[in-house]
């Protein structure tokens, strides 16, 4: 018997028994497979129910009757255990959120099977007209997402045209796609980038084109996923400004976030690229003092130059 606590085993038995009651004569092997159980465990569960469960005063008419006929199981019992227990909130949330998340992807349910399953689940949970839970995994072109997923599965090298907001330009590169995943509301491609000679995370909504090159690659044994995001940044910026700039701490990873007694806040955060820094500085209150984290130099000039560049578009020509 696999190690399992008594309440968990009770939960399992109460979920499986009603199905067996309603589907008499099903082979034990088939039941075990359907419920993801080992056959020996299932048999022990049934024996336990057979020998030990009933109603006071435990006369034969209130005992559970389990019969094995050529390994086919039939269970007869009184009125109890005819239906499984209602879903717990954890179970309902896992199923509903999973279903809604997948439905939110274009082309994920061509036959409408999942949609009707989620509707049935929703009806039983008493959701009503307005769905209680909606999950958006992130914006992504379904065509590109599909190409990336297929390439990752088949170990096919891809040619990408990728727009980097950090550098503000699209570049062409070849990558070995490892996996496609949604994190924090965005889709990412984890891949080995031939241009950078390193593993990188690519935002799928910034992949403008993806094509198979026809080459394939050897997938590595292990993938160092976490470090892939912010590697290669040694620059940092220190910001001191009014309380209104605190939103920065919510929006970006930071190294330091302090609230000073005089009501100002101090933040130190890594800088990924100059355009990123410019657009951050231009969104902060003009009284904010920004300095380079390493040299301690004022970044006023960077900020001013960026502002002037934009202003040039607005000047009469």
């Amino acid at each position: 018997m696999s190690r399992i606590t008594a309440p968990d085993r009770v939960q399992r038995i109460l979920a499986v028994i009603p199905w067996i009651v309603q589907n008499p004569g099903t082979p034990l092997t088939e039941i075990a497979e359907r419920f993801g159980l080992r056959k020996e465990d299932l048999r022990k569960d049934l024996e336990l129910v057979f020998y030990g469960v009933g109603l006071y005063p435990f006369t034969p008419d209130v005992l559970v009757e389990v019969s094995f006929d050529n390994d086919c199981v039939t269970v007869n019992l009184a009125e109890y255990f005819h239906r499984p227990v209602r879903l717990t909130h954890e179970e309902a949330l896992t199923l509903l959120a999973g279903g809604r998340a997948v439905l939110g992807r274009d082309g994920s349910d061509p036959e409408g099977v999942l949609r009707s399953a989620v509707q049935k689940l929703s009806a039983v949970l008493g959701e009503g007209e307005v769905s209680a839970v909606e999950v958006a995994l992130g914006p992504a072109d379904p065509g590109i997402l599909q190409v990336l997923q297929q390439a990752a599965e088949a170990n096919s090298v891809l040619a990408l045209s990728y727009f980097s907001y950090g550098r503000d330009q699209a570049t062409d590169r070849e990558v070995d796609p490892y996996s496609v995943l949604s994190r924090d509301g965005h889709w990412y491609l984890l891949a080995y980038c031939h241009l950078m000679d390193a593993e990188r995370l690519f935002r799928v909504d910034r992949v403008q084109k993806a094509q198979l090159t026809g080459d394939s690659f050897e997938p590595p044994d292990s993938i160092s996923q976490v470090e892939a995001t912010l590697s290669g940044t040694s620059r940092s910026v220190e910001l001191i400004g009014p309380e209104s700039i605190s939103w920065v701490a919510d929006a970006y990873p930071y190294d330091v976030f302090e609230q000073n007694p005089d009501g100002t806040v101090r933040l130190v955060l890594p800088v990924t690229a100059t355009p990123w820094l410019e657009r951050l500085l231009l969104r902060l209150d003009p009284s904010t003092v920004a300095t380079d984290g390493l040299s301690g130099e004022s970044l006023n000039r960077v900020r001013s130059a960026a502002a002037q560049r934009i202003l040039n578009r607005y000047l009469p020509t």
Binding site: A6, D8, Y56, R86, T88, V133, S182, E278, R303, I310
Partner: protein
Amino acid sequence: MARVERLLNLVAALIDTTTPLTAEQIRIRVPGYPNAESGQSDAAFHRAFERDKESLREVGIPIETVEVHHFEQPRAAYTIIRDSYELPDLGLELDELAALHLAATMIQAEGLDPDDLEEGLRKLGGLASTAAASAAPVGAVPMPPQLLTLFACTLERRVASFEYEGAPRQVQPYRLEYRRGHWYMTGFDLDREAQRSFRLDRLTGQVDSGAADSYAVPDVIEGVLLRQWEIGTGEITLARVLVDSEIAPAVLAEDPDLRVAETRPDGSLVLELDVRNPGGLRSFMMNFLDRAEILSPEEFRQDLETWLSSFVSTQAESPA
């Protein structure tokens, strides 16, 4: 595994009974409890019974406690009400069960026990998808504890009380949405007498829930507003924004529902935005630096020029 049998018999007895049973009645009807004949104390029985009740409630079995008055003194008695215990038949076809299994496997519910998925599926009729065993997760969605309480409130229409941005709130939750990496709850804020959205990671402390079925959910609910220029109570002003061709695909990929009024021959786009919050528009424009421009109205152009000029003049004052 005598305790498994005892627990199962306890559940059967509480479902079967037409009147709630007191602890003493349960001790007689359910075998396996410490009893007087074998010299075990009442205290040992009560400890075992309390533990059993708690264990069963933890796995989702709704044991009700009621007070009965047919003794000299009122006593607690227990029952399981069939309607709150039994899961109605969803009528799922096997392929629907498989689709649900596969979908829920592909999404990692971070913070929930993976066993919850299997347990839920068993109640619905089994683990029907063979593809699920080898399916790679395509997405991870965090499921913080507050979400679970708010989910229960939303389904059961219970008022949720919590602290948000330093102030206590009482809200009738309508919907939970996961957007751009954050959970939001939209509902009717009873103190402010208006519909509001709350970001779950800004809730502090625990969420308390009120009585069930205490309000009705409207038929139509506006979603969470994520576009910064749309958040606000001001009148709508239509703004036209030019986006250069180099960044146009990236802008549309990020928000595919943006209204494109015009695509110019060079590939640049004119977007139409409904602006309630000019500060939000300015912040949005800064994403594009000098690759985008507000075309109209003039007052928004002016506002942006004033904002940018304040940075330029700051530099003029500092020593070069």
